[in-house]
């Protein structure tokens, strides 16, 4: 994108549509959580702990969705070499890391009363931890590489490989536990909870989309600032 185009995009007042969407997402989240808690009966085995599902499961789903987003934009970057795709991928990665961290914390909060320990080497929890580490590595790479093109291409390669590895990690950890005959965590969702879960899943999705877009906006402004600084540096010399 040319400097002029970026500058105009930035100078415009913040697009109202996205701000409205942001508000909607948060209100929808509050409403979904309230609804889910109100209408769901206590579980036979887990009792009221079941309610944690309404934050833990959607968070886990977002944790899987976000790396997919990184993968898509990374592939697009390598194909089209547009800077926007690189910035979108990076934004998605940052949001993904946040959701991965949240999923881990919620998983631990669930595990403690359920199994008496803060951590179990459960396949899903462990895979999420490895994914978190992969994403942290991605962010570290971006922080340590200054050259823009190099950073974009390396991030794309690392992001693509990382995303491909996610199902592989999950599969190998699950096989690892099966071999040693460890029980897996309860997977089935009682139909009574499906509505609440679906509502909250969508709410999380809206919030995640909003986060990624906002982060992307900020990245674009940073980029415009860099452009402007470079232009000023070049222009200023020819006084």
């Amino acid at each position: 994108m040319t400097t002029a185009a970026l500058a105009t995009k930035v100078a415009r007042p913040r697009t109202r549509a996205w701000t409205v969407f942001g508000w909607f997402a948060f209100l929808f989240l509050i409403a979904s959580q309230a609804t889910a808690i109100a209408i769901s009966p206590p579980d036979r085995d887990m009792g009221d702990l079941q309610k944690i599902m309404y934050v833990h499961v959607p968070s886990a789903w977002m944790t899987m969705l976000a790396p997919l987003t990184v993968l898509v934009f990374a592939l697009r970057y390598l194909w089209k070499r547009r800077e926007q795709d690189d910035l979108l991928a990076a934004s998605a990665a940052e949001v993904a890391t946040t959701f991965a961290g949240l999923t881990l914390m919620l998983g631990m909060i669930w595990a403690r009363p359920t199994w008496g320990v803060w951590w179990t080497w459960d396949a899903r929890l462990t895979s999420t931890l490895v994914l978190f580490l992969i994403l942290a590595g991605y962010l570290a790479l971006r922080a340590l590489v200054d050259d823009r093109e190099r950073r974009a291409q390396w991030s794309a390669a690392v992001g693509i490989l990382g995303a491909i590895n996610v199902p592989i990690v999950y599969m190998s950890v699950r096989w690892w536990r099966t071999i040693h005959q460890m029980q897996s965590s309860p997977a089935t969702v009682d139909p009574a909870y499906v509505l609440g879960l679906r509502l909250n899943a969508f709410a999380f999705l809206f919030v995640m989309v909003f986060f990624i877009h906002r982060r992307y906006e900020a990245a674009m402004i940073e980029r415009a600032a860099e452009h402007a600084a470079e232009a000023a540096a070049l222009g200023g010399s020819s006084t």
Partner: protein
């Protein structure tokens, strides 16, 4: 035929890396000594109960090879970096995949030899009985080594050319190696324990599948990593 040219170039690069390595034996020897030191430290961490140490032998061996191996990976690109030769290498037509393949071969020879020594020392230190199925064990070692070297070489191509390379390589590499390490350690563990459950075969097949996936992925992605 283009493929044969590539293969020739890859071999040339590998040979160059290995001969420079041989002439400065300090490199290989130091890494081996480091690996053995790590084995000893594991002994202190898990011992002195020999049963505990022996049960963890598979993990100890692979982790020692891993920690020492990361040094080898960064070094494999270091040689060209210091001389500024990498840019020249890339200019040769069709060279990029050959560069990767060459580095892979060189690193594989290095790590495989190191791993052999580590296993030998580990067997002694941890009082491990060499199983009857040692050919199968060799197969698992081979497959694990392939996975380790594939990903290690790939990430080193980036880490060695960035700031904080000592921390960036392990940071990027270790989480990605989880499936390979898991399969290699479990397969090794099963074989060292007599493979009562017959799991080793399954792990070996899984490991082979991982190797294929990562080899293909890194070969394709290397192009983008080396050209910037």
């Amino acid at each position: 035929m283009a493929l044969r040219d590539e293969w020739r170039r890859a071999r040339a690069i590998a040979w160059k890396d290995l001969t420079t390595e041989r002439r400065s034996k300090a490199g290989f020897n130091s890494v081996v000594v480091l690996a053995v030191t790590i084995l000893v430290l594991f002994g202190f961490a898990l011992g002195p109960d020999t049963q505990a140490i022996r049960n963890a032998a598979a993990g100890e061996i692979w982790l020692s090879a891993l920690f020492a191996g990361v040094l080898a990976f960064n070094r494999s690109f270091q040689l060209e970096l210091d001389g500024g030769a990498l840019d020249a290498l890339i200019l040769y037509p069709g060279a990029r995949r050959a560069i990767f393949a060459g580095k892979l071969l060189g690193n594989f020879a290095f790590v495989a030899l190191m791993l052999t020594i580590v296993i030998a020392v580990g067997v002694v230190l941890f009082q491990v009985r060499v199983p009857a199925e040692w050919p199968s064990l060799l197969a698992i070692l081979f497959l694990g080594c392939v996975g380790l070297v594939t990903l290690g070489t790939f990430y080193a191509a980036m880490a060695s050319r960035s700031r904080a390379r000592e921390v960036l390589l392990p940071l990027l590499l270790f989480p990605m190696l989880v499936p390979v390490l898991l399969a290699a350690m479990e397969g090794t563990k099963a074989l060292l324990g007599g493979d009562i459950m017959g799991d080793a075969g399954a792990w070996a097949r899984l490991l082979a599948a991982f190797d294929v996936v990562f080899l293909v992925a890194t070969l394709l992605a290397f192009e983008f990593v080396i050209e910037v």
